[in-house]
Every structure is written in structure tokens, then in C-alpha cells.
């Protein structure tokens, strides 16, 4: 008896109707929860009968939808073409074809509802694509296991290659970050994030304080008077000092806790990285998996010879990290210039050099100044003049604001560069934490150029490199001199049998 036959289009488990029902219901509740809450809140008990009838009709409609969804969802495995095909959709038909060797991982999951009914969902994870799309919502345990087995058995087995090299290399640390270095890193990095954290913290504290005042009906004037008095004791400068110290302290503790005892060891041509004080983290990184290498340094770090290095891997599903970018990054918080070069050599096999430098067009400044200075100032002045007059007292602050943003924009413009050579693309950016983002041309997944109508005459283009670890952009570049490079990169990608991961 052969194992389960997936070569014919087949439906999910009949119990799947329940799951479809629950999904549809969930979708409706999620999109209509505001009006639903309103209905419940202002419920008129006289109309209970109508409400129940409405509910029953709604449930029946959902049931029909769920049934149709179930009927129209089929999947099968085309072994001759090595494809897995999912067909779904009631009104719009959708056919998803997945190349078997593109499958990265197959997960069998079970939610609470699925547990109640006794079915499993099979989620197929392919690099880069939307995870939800290739998901079978309800199959029996046996089917799920067999399907997973079938899907993964097509995976080409290459473990033999790596296991041969296991022997010789000793496990001496390739890089070790001392406690002292971590302290230095903590003091010099991530100001922006810590300040944001602090503002959030103070905001919630202040909100909580206001809640206490209003809910206990404390005499507001009295309390505010107390606060004013308090403010008198602490001068503003002292307050600012305190904030500064707090920011540094938060940074310090965060860095030390996160990266305590940071060690990088070379193991079988891969990098094994260990760190963490409470939560120990172990990661194994194959150099070929790194898609984007970034390193950044601010003014203080340059003086201390500290570099913050990040190695971004392909993210198989859309993982969103704290900064909202989708990435799967491994961070080396503090290394010296020499150590950085060592790591780069290890990952990229040689160091990048620069053959041609692209500067952004001056229109970069026009956009940055109008968005960063003119628009906020105009809004502020309009508010002050027409809406809330007390704001006028703060108009002198605008000068400081303009000065500050002006300096930032100037440095951003000065640092914004595209550094090109045959083997590397480097984008340099940012005003304070000067960052270099580095990719090899063959790691590019696709290239987009974007040109606004009004940029046609001045020959300006915005360039985007799509990589498996996210997009890299260089804006306001000269199109004509970039075209040969784009053609070259496409040529590099298309001729190469080199694997991008």
C-alpha cells in the first residue's frame, strides 16, 4: 500500500468547514467590531427577537460561505513538474503554484479552534512570499504529516558537503567583546532609540498621573501648584542633565544585558555566535546566507575605534523587528576597524573598494528642507496665528529647530553616497550614525527604478535594490550614468550560477 496519494486535486478534511466558518466569522467580527459594540451597548431588549433572527440569518450566510470556501479549496502535488498547487477562491479564483525546491520549511500548526475540531493547518514557508498564501487550513493529522514529508523529501540533500569539513578547525574565538567595550558601546550608541523609549515612559507616567488626578477628583489646582513648586526646586538644566544620565544608563544596561559575554567562533566555515546575560542566544550563521552587511559609526565611536556591524540574513517570512523593518539581523555591537575587516573578509571573501562614487542631486536638499523645515514651520506658524495664540510665545524656538534640522539635513546630504565597484554596492547614509550598507550584486533579487515626471528633464532617478533581507534605496541619482551599472548588475545576476543563499 503506497502512502497517501496527493497527485489528484483533493479537498481538505470535511471538518474544515468548521474552520472556514470560524475564520469567516472572525473576519467579520474583526472588520465590524465597532458597529457590533455599538449595537450591544445600545441594545433594545424589545427587539431581541429581530436580533436573534438577524443572527441566525447571518450564521446561515456564513455557513454557506464557509461551505463554498471548502468546496473551492483544493490542493495537489504535481510530481512530474515538482510543483505543489493550491486552488482557492469562491468568486475570484486563485491558483498558487509552489516549486517544491523553493520550499524552506513546512510547519504543522494547531490553533484552539483547530484543536477542538481535531484538524491541523499546514503552512508552507517559501523565501520571501507571503506566508498566509500557502496555507492549508484544515487537514487530519496523518494527512498533514504525510504532506509535510512529501513536500520536504524533494529537498536536495547537501549535508554531506558540510560534514566533511568538520574536523580540523579549533574552536578559538574569532571575536570576543569585553565588558569594557560593551560599556563603551552602551555610552555611545542608540541615543535615538533610548530617547524614544524615555519619552514613551514619561508619557505613560504623566498619563497615569493625570488619571489619578481626575479619577480621585483631587483638587487639580492644589496638585498642579505642588508640581510647580517642585519644578522650582529643580532647575530646567538639572532636569535635562537627569534625562541625559537616564538615557545613558538605559543604554548601558540594555547593551550589557543583551550582549554580555559576546563570542564569535568559526565553526565549519560558519560563524557561531553566543551572547546574552539572562537570555542566552546562540546563532549559527553561514556566510553565504548573509544578504546585507551594514556597519555604522558615529562621531564618538570613531574616536573610540568602535564599529557597530549588522549581518542581515534572508527572512523567510515577513518577520518585523523592533524598528519595523523586516529583517533577520545578527548584530556585532562593537568591534574595531581591524576586526570589522576580518569579519567582512570572512563573509564577503574580500574587502570592498570604490571605483565610482555617486552623489545625490541637489534636489535631495529641496525635498529634505521642504519636508523637514518648511512644512512643519508653516503648520506651527499657522496654528499659532489662527488656532491657538499662546503658541506664539514659542516662535523663537523655531529658529533653534531650523538650525538643528538644517545641520542634520546638511550632514545627511554630505554623507549620502552610492559607492560602486564591480563586486560591491555600498550605500553610505545618515547624519549621525554614519552607516554603510553593503551588498554583492549577485545577491540582488530585482531592481526597480522610479522616476517622477518632473525629474525627467533633470535626469534623476530613485533606485531600489530588492534583496531577500529587504530593500535598499538610493534616491536622486543621475540616471544616465547609472544605466550602465544597472545593466551590469542585471548581467551579473543573470549570468551567475552563484547561489544567493
Amino acid at each position: 500500500m503506497p502512502s497517501f496519494d496527493f497527485s489528484q486535486p483533493q479537498r481538505q478534511s470535511v471538518k474544515g468547514i468548521t474552520i472556514m466558518f470560524a475564520d469567516t466569522l472572525q473576519g467579520i467580527i474583526r472588520s465590524l467590531w465597532v458597529p457590533l459594540l455599538l449595537i450591544i451597548y445600545r441594545f433594545d431588549w424589545d427587539k431581541l427577537l429581530y436580533f436573534i433572527i438577524g443572527l441566525v440569518v447571518l450564521m446561515m450566510i456564513i455557513g454557506v460561505i464557509a461551505y463554498l470556501k471548502y468546496i473551492n479549496f483544493t490542493f495537489f502535488l504535481d510530481e512530474s513538474k515538482e510543483e505543489f498547487v493550491i486552488q482557492k477562491g469562491v468568486i475570484s479564483k486563485n491558483k498558487i503554484t509552489i516549486q517544491l525546491d523553493k520550499i524552506q520549511q513546512v510547519n504543522i500548526n494547531q490553533s484552539v479552534i483547530q484543536k477542538l475540531v481535531g484538524v491541523y493547518s499546514v503552512d508552507i514557508d517559501t523565501a520571501g512570499s507571503d506566508k498566509k498564501e500557502a496555507s492549508i487550513r484544515a487537514v487530519d493529522n496523518q494527512v498533514a504529516l504525510h504532506l509535510k514529508n512529501k513536500l520536504l523529501s524533494f529537498e536536495k540533500n547537501t549535508e554531506g558537503i558540510s560534514s566533511e569539513e568538520e574536523s580540523i578547525e579549533p574552536n578559538k574565538p574569532f571575536l570576543k567583546i569585553s565588558f569594557l567595550t560593551l560599556l563603551k558601546v552602551g555610552i555611545t550608541s542608540n541615543y535615538g532609540r533610548s530617547i524614544a523609549l524615555l519619552i514613551g515612559f514619561i508619557g505613560t507616567l504623566y498619563g497615569g498621573f493625570q488619571d489619578v488626578v481626575t479619577s480621585f477628583e483631587v483638587d487639580e489646582d492644589e496638585v498642579n501648584g505642588l508640581v510647580d513648586q517642585g519644578m522650582g526646586y529643580f532647575s530646567i538644566s538639572f532636569f535635562l542633565m537627569a534625562i541625559l544620565v537616564l538615557v545613558l544608563l538605559i543604554n548601558l544596561v540594555r547593551t550589557v544585558v543583551k550582549f554580555f559575554d559576546y563570542q564569535m567562533v568559526v565553526q565549519r566555515k560558519a560563524l557561531a555566535i553566543n551572547f546574552g546575560l539572562f537570555a542566552k542566544k546562540n546563532t549559527l550563521l553561514k556566510p553565504s546566507k548573509v544578504q546585507i552587511t551594514t556597519y555604522s559609526q558615529n562621531f564618538f565611536q570613531r574616536k573610540l575605534n568602535l564599529i557597530d556591524l549588522k549581518l542581515k540574513q534572508a527572512s523567510s517570512s515577513d518577520v518585523v523587528d523592533e524598528e519595523g523593518k523586516r529583517s533577520n539581523a545578527i548584530e556585532v555591537p562593537g568591534c574595531s576597524r581591524v576586526e570589522k575587516d576580518e569579519i567582512l573578509k570572512m563573509i564577503l571573501s574580500k574587502l570592498p573598494k570604490t571605483e565610482q562614487v555617486f552623489k545625490p542631486n541637489f534636489r535631495y536638499l529641496i525635498k529634505a528642507i521642504s519636508l523637514g523645515i518648511i512644512v512643519p514651520c508653516v503648520i506651527f506658524i499657522c496654528l499659532g496665528l489662527f488656532v491657538y495664540e499662546p503658541l506664539q510665545n514659542y516662535f523663537p524656538l523655531l529658529l533653534a529647530y531650523i538650525l538643528m534640522i538644517g545641520i542634520i539635513v546638511f550632514f545627511q546630504f554630505r554623507n549620502y553616497r552610492l559607492l560602486l565597484s564591480k563586486d560591491f554596492i555600498v550605500i553610505k547614509s545618515n547624519a549621525w550614525d554614519v552607516e554603510h550598507q553593503l551588498i554583492e550584486p549577485f545577491k540582488i533579487q530585482g531592481i526597480s527604478t522610479k522616476q517622477f515626471l518632473w525629474h525627467k528633464r533633470s535626469d534623476i532617478v530613485h533606485l531600489t535594490f530588492h534583496t531577500a533581507a529587504g530593500d535598499l534605496k538610493f534616491k536622486f541619482a543621475n540616471y544616465s550614468s547609472l544605466k550602465p551599472w544597472i545593466n551590469y548588475w542585471l548581467y551579473e545576476v543573470e549570468r551567475a550560477d552563484r547561489n544567493w543563499m
Partner: protein, 209 residues
């Protein structure tokens, strides 16, 4: 040892992506766009009608609001016509190009050997005109995925099988070098493999078949 050449690449001799002629979308697709625009307009109009009847603020200036509505609808149709005209695609020997945009022109180039999978999508109105949307997915995430609408169904099918064919051929060539196991989750996979290989009794298989 395979044949190895390493002559200098002259930038001028490379094929130029900027001078590729783009094919426009099927004319019927404009009708599809118009139909969905029309439906949207009807919704807008009914919404406004209700407001005009029940809301004093609106019913005082009927003409102004109707004019605004008409302007919005006109703008909608105008922009979607422009958008239709600017959309275009091109297939080269080794990559696929798609162009779109209204105020700006975005051209995306996806090399065949970077395509992850290909799908066809048919909307309700598209199906009336026998049109499909070709969806090309890469590992670059949603920003680099191509959605080429308004292709005649047979053409879309043939492009799709052409692309799938290209992908598999390219894959076969580089199979020896591939290592597909995701490092971070390799243990996970192996563990799951074991559990999946547990012997199943034949009776269960029979019930399924």
C-alpha cells in the same frame, strides 16, 4: 574543470534594459478598470445622496457637493486611464520587466533565476473578458513582487509555464551547489522529519485512498 573565462566586461556591450520595448496591457482590461471604477462611483453617489437627504450641512449646498462628486469620479476615471496607458511589460531572454505609475514611472526588473513562484489571478470582471493577472513572486518580499494585470488568459498561461520552465531549468543547473536548509531552523526541520517518518498503519492509508 569547466571552461573558465574572465574577460573584461565592457559596459557598452551589455544589453540595455532602458531601451526595451514594453507591451501594453490588453485593451479590454481598461473596461475592467472602468467597471470597478463605476461600481465605486455608484457607492460614492449613494453615500452622498443619503448625506444630501439627511444632513443639513450637505443639503444646503447641493450643487457644490454634486460638483465635487463629479470631479472626484472624473479624476478617478482619468487617473486610471493614465495608469492603464503607462502599464506595460516586457519579457527578455533572462528577465521580466514591468512598468507602472501615474506621476512617476517605476520600472522593475526581475531576473528569471530569482523568481520563487508564479501565480495566476482572475478577478470577477476580468473573467468576463477572459483576462488574468500574472503574479511573480521573488524572495525580495512584497515590494519586488510583480502583479501584471490585464493579460489575455492564454497568454498569461503561456507566460506562466514559460517562467516555470525557465525556473526549473535554471534550478537543475545549479542543484549541486544548493544548500537549502535554513540554518536557524535546521534542528526544527530534522526533528519534524523524524516525527513525520513514523510508520503509519495501512488501514489508515486505505481509508484515505
Amino acid at each position: 574543470m569547466e571552461e573558465f573565462t574572465n574577460s573584461t566586461v565592457s559596459f557598452d556591450s551589455l544589453p540595455k534594459f532602458e531601451s526595451v520595448p514594453f507591451k501594453p496591457l490588453n485593451k479590454n482590461y481598461l473596461n475592467v478598470v472602468y467597471i470597478s471604477n463605476a461600481i465605486f462611483s455608484v457607492f460614492l453617489a449613494t453615500g452622498l445622496t443619503f448625506l444630501l437627504i439627511f444632513n443639513d450641512f450637505f443639503s444646503d449646498n447641493v450643487i457644490v457637493w454634486v460638483a465635487i462628486l463629479l470631479a472626484i469620479i472624473a479624476l478617478l476615471f482619468w487617473t486610471s486611464t493614465i495608469s492603464f496607458r503607462k502599464k506595460g511589460y516586457a519579457l527578455r531572454e533572462k528577465d521580466i520587466l514591468f512598468r507602472k505609475g501615474i506621476l512617476s514611472t517605476t520600472t522593475t526588473v526581475i531576473p528569471f533565476n530569482r523568481i520563487q513562484h508564479v501565480a495566476l489571478y482572475e478577478g470577477v470582471f476580468s473573467r468576463m473578458y477572459q483576462l488574468s493577472e500574472l503574479q511573480v513572486y521573488t524572495a525580495g518580499g512584497s515590494s519586488s513582487d510583480l502583479h501584471i494585470p490585464g493579460l489575455p488568459k492564454e497568454e498569461a498561461e503561456s507566460i506562466k509555464s514559460f517562467l516555470l520552465n525557465k525556473i526549473t531549468v535554471l534550478e537543475k543547473e545549479s542543484v549541486e551547489l544548493t544548500s537549502k536548509l535554513e540554518e536557524t531552523s535546521s534542528e526544527d526541520i530534522q526533528f519534524e522529519h523524524q516525527s513525520a517518518k513514523l510508520p503509519e498503519s495501512d488501514t489508515e492509508n486505505e481509508t484515505k485512498n
